[in-house]
Symmetry: C2
Subunit: 150 residues, 2 copies
């Protein structure tokens, strides 16, 4: 089932993947449930905000990114076992309706887990861009990866 | 409309708020869209994972927390203007179906914005608990807050 394990991952390696269109309907639906601030829901209110126009919740941007990451991991057979957390998220440019998101990633660190000998911890930086190659979000996060154990 | 501005917020002040029930349906619905890893979707697969049982995506936990925070901000008339980013998220304990989430917050830092003179930046630590008072998640995040300007 899995093809890529902890031992196969190299610090410094880079990947590009994903294509996710942030529709207006999905932006408003997500914000309505989880981040009902006016600038994520209403075009007129958003014009008066720092964002200037209706835009996605930052948490929606994270979630759309996660969707692309999981698709990528499944496609590669990556033995991801969840995450203990995120080191940093910076929302740089708003995500507007119709934007198409894509991801560039770089592995910046890896180490074996002390508490779980069958797992390693891989730290990666993810940069999310729109169709105009504008940087939307940068995030450094950690994934627990199964060891092949040979 | 707004009642609480940047000048009104004190470093060290603490609040407790929110009550959000993480239903199984919502856990699976969110994960299906944004984090379709087996342990967030399927009870049998989850038993074999580090989590031991079907649990929410960490991004869903963040989103449920944001929902509680926005409700709280609206209730208090808090002049929140969005966020430039998050400093740290640690997912400590899984969120299982039926868990009831609540939040404790503490303002840990505040400073005026250099680039936007009508805003200040407020850094807070959020701790999210379940109904058994187990710590589910800790997060340090930043909110831009409008100044009253008097």
């Amino acid at each position: 089932m899995f093809k890529v394990f902890y031992e196969d991952l190299e610090v410094g390696s880079k990947e590009a993947f994903g294509s996710y269109t942030a529709t207006k309907e999905e932006i408003i639906d997500f914000a309505g449930k989880y981040d009902p601030q006016p600038f994520h829901l209403d075009e007129e209110m958003a014009k008066q905000s720092v964002f200037g126009s209706l835009c996605a919740s930052g948490w929606h941007t994270c979630s759309m990114t996660m969707s692309m990451l999981v698709d990528y991991m499944k496609d590669k057979g990556f033995a991801g076992m969840g995450s203990p957390g995120v080191d940093n998220i910076r929302w740089k440019t708003p995500v507007f309706p119709g934007d198409i998101l894509s991801v560039k990633s770089e592995i910046i660190e890896k180490r074996e887990s002390q508490s779980r000998p069958n797992l390693g911890l891989v730290k990666s930086k993810y940069s999310v861009f729109n169709q105009k190659d504008e940087l939307l979000m940068e995030m450094v996060t950690n994934v627990m990866v199964l060891k092949r154990g040979d």
